[in-house]
Symmetry: C2
Subunit: 356 residues, 2 copies
DNA sequence: TCTTAGCACTCCTCACCTCAGAGTGCCAAT
DNA sequence: ATTGGCACTCTGAGGTGAGGAGTGCTAAGA
């Protein structure tokens, strides 16, 4: 597994003892949620140092911006920069138990009717296992190839268009037509479109149809006129923009770090808004493996106090989407990271298996 | 509009003055969210009574269970029973401005691709207008009639089944088959099913198929064997159970009444759980017009401190579903009730228009 | 030069108190 | 039946003081 750092920043060299203390402090803080004082470190960190020495080290770490003290006489707490260093340099991730992986695999490899359904079940899984909010971004539409298109007459002026994309995803569209069409006509139009455009990228199809055919519209025979009218509406509406599925948002309400009701509201609204998070996840699409955003590193104000752990999933060479979790910055990274990583791999595996 | 009371309970006769005071108190409490004291009523209720007199009345109302005092020296607050009486007897609903209705109508009457999409947009609308959580229950599946079924071969062993129900709703299902089928075979099977079962209730179709055909399975010709294999999977999976769409849950975080984070979490989990709320909404399916549940009247523990306002929507004689809002018991009923009422009517209107 | 004990200092938390304000219940007078 | 008056209760804000945790600094020791 690789953990890439979205905002690489120079870290001055720290001697081993300092690193060890920082690591212990962050781990302890993640465990207990309380500022950690010099006495605790001196006693428990296993270095046989006096608290005074530890204090000196902590003062240095504070100087460097890795720690901060909530107030004069509380212990210290990691800053975003401290978490960053911890994640990049100090963290040793526990690999997942093979049995646990097997459980995950079974839960992912369920027959699903649609991409959305699969995404929902995977984000449920993520949130269930980590007790955080799970997010799965749906496969990006841009890279969709048209497998098949069919038209069914519904009534006088209404036709159902069915798009099969990538061999799995099925989309329906109801089209209002200018005149009535019979089934045979529609069948011919579909045949033409399938023969001409099957296997092509859907963006490409749209472009070709609109550019090439529009200019010659007046000279078209009856078949081609049907084709054009159908295709216009079938491919015109930008097939619903990228989207994601969130599960387990309620888990976030349990963390004292996020107990500010107003903050929480803003966060939940960001989930609904989607645009900010989509932007963030877009950035992870082509990352190589797990990526972590600590606090406001994401550039997203509402994510203050939160971290995001993402991983892209892909079949073969094609990146399909991104999944991950959102939780308080104070989360058990050593556990969450492998879960996200493995889930992405398993999802890719399953999707790969579903392609024939 | 009719407002039916789900838990009719005897109310002793109150004289006009008492009613007026109760009405004023509830209205004031809804407006300000503060316990209302005798001085306030004496001054503002417009009855020219001394605060001492008002106190006597309030003591009576408390005796009767309509009011309660949070503590000795706070004013009084309506109880669930008090709200109940207010809603049933005292409330005068403001009819909606026709321009406002027009705005609602336009927002509802948008082309939607599916029932879910329409439900989502309507519950968005409800939550936007009322600043509460909007809920739209999807049309009940039981009453769905099969309009058309089609099969598309996707690959060797996978067939896409398309169900058109009620002339609007389209459902897809991917079927794993035991052997490969070609397009012509599938076409014939679809033709048979359409001829035989088109226009019938889908429950009925399922029953007929399974009962009649199963027993004669061994004697079937090739066509009928195809039909049975297809139909089994197409109609077998209980077409996804009743469901609803919630929007604007975040609005609920703004109300001080619900500021208890843990309560709120339970409420949100109930939204996800769905079963409790579905049960509640089921009860409203055949109510005649707007129904209101105050606090725990709903029998749903998590709804403590919340009220639910619902209305069924129907085309012609057929009840399609229920919509409504959930908010703090302390909500502006005079505004919310007509919004829910009108929205249900408009949705029915729009759905009626979409049937050919 | 690094480490450590010691000490003065800071700041939070909690319990406790007080006091003003709001509202009540009750009683006696109208 | 209504009202003014009065004693009473409870909340909430503000203030105080003790206890505790943790710090920085300094000077002595390895």
């Amino acid at each position: 597994m690789q953990i890439s750092d979205p905002t690489p920043a120079g870290h001055p060299a720290l001697n081993e003892r300092t690193q060890h203390l920082l690591k212990f402090l962050v781990e302890r803080y993640i465990r207990d949620g309380q500022p950690v004082g010099s006495r605790t470190l001196s006693r428990d960190a296993g270095l046989d140092l006096s608290s005074a020495t530890v204090r000196n080290v902590m003062a240095d770490l504070e100087e460097l911006g890795y720690l901060r003290a909530p107030h004069t006489s509380a212990g210290r707490v990691p800053t975003a920069r401290g978490y960053r260093f911890f994640i990049d340099t100090l963290l040793r991730v526990k690999p997942l138990d093979p049995r646990e992986i097997e459980v995950l695999r079974r839960r992912i490899d369920q027959p699903a009717q649609s991409g959305t359904e699969l995404a929902r079940s995977v984000s449920d899984l993520l949130s269930g296992v980590t007790r955080l909010a799970g997010i799965v971004m749906l496969p990006r539409r841009q890279t969709m190839t048209l497998r098949q298109v069919e038209f069914l007459p519904l009534s006088e002026r209404r036709v159902l268009a069915i798009l099969v994309l990538n061999g799995q995803e099925v989309q329906n569209r109801i089209i209002q037509t200018r005149r009535a069409y019979d089934a045979a006509e529609l069948q011919r139009a579909a045949n033409y479109l399938n023969a001409q455009f099957g296997g092509q990228d859907i963006q490409q199809v749209r472009k070709t149809l609109f550019e090439e055919l529009r200019e010659t519209r007046d000279h078209l025979d009856r078949l081609m006129q049907t084709v054009v009218e159908m295709a216009e509406q079938t491919f015109e509406s930008t097939p619903e923009s990228d989207d994601y599925v969130v599960a387990g948002q309620t888990h976030l309400m349990q963390y004292a770090d996020l107990s500010d009701l107003d903050k929480l509201r803003q966060l939940f609204e960001a989930f609904n808004q989607k645009s900010d998070l989509l932007h963030l996840f877009d950035q992870c699409l082509h990352a190589d493996g797990v990526q972590i955003f600590v606090g406001e590193e994401s550039g997203c104000g509402v994510l203050e106090g939160c971290s995001v752990v993402t991983a892209p999933y892909s079949t073969g060479d094609q990146v399909l989407g991104v999944l991950g979790i959102i939780g308080p910055t104070r989360m058990a990274y050593d556990r969450v990271i492998p879960v996200v990583d493995v889930t992405a791999r398993l999802l890719a595996e399953v999707l790969d298996g579903q392609r024939d």
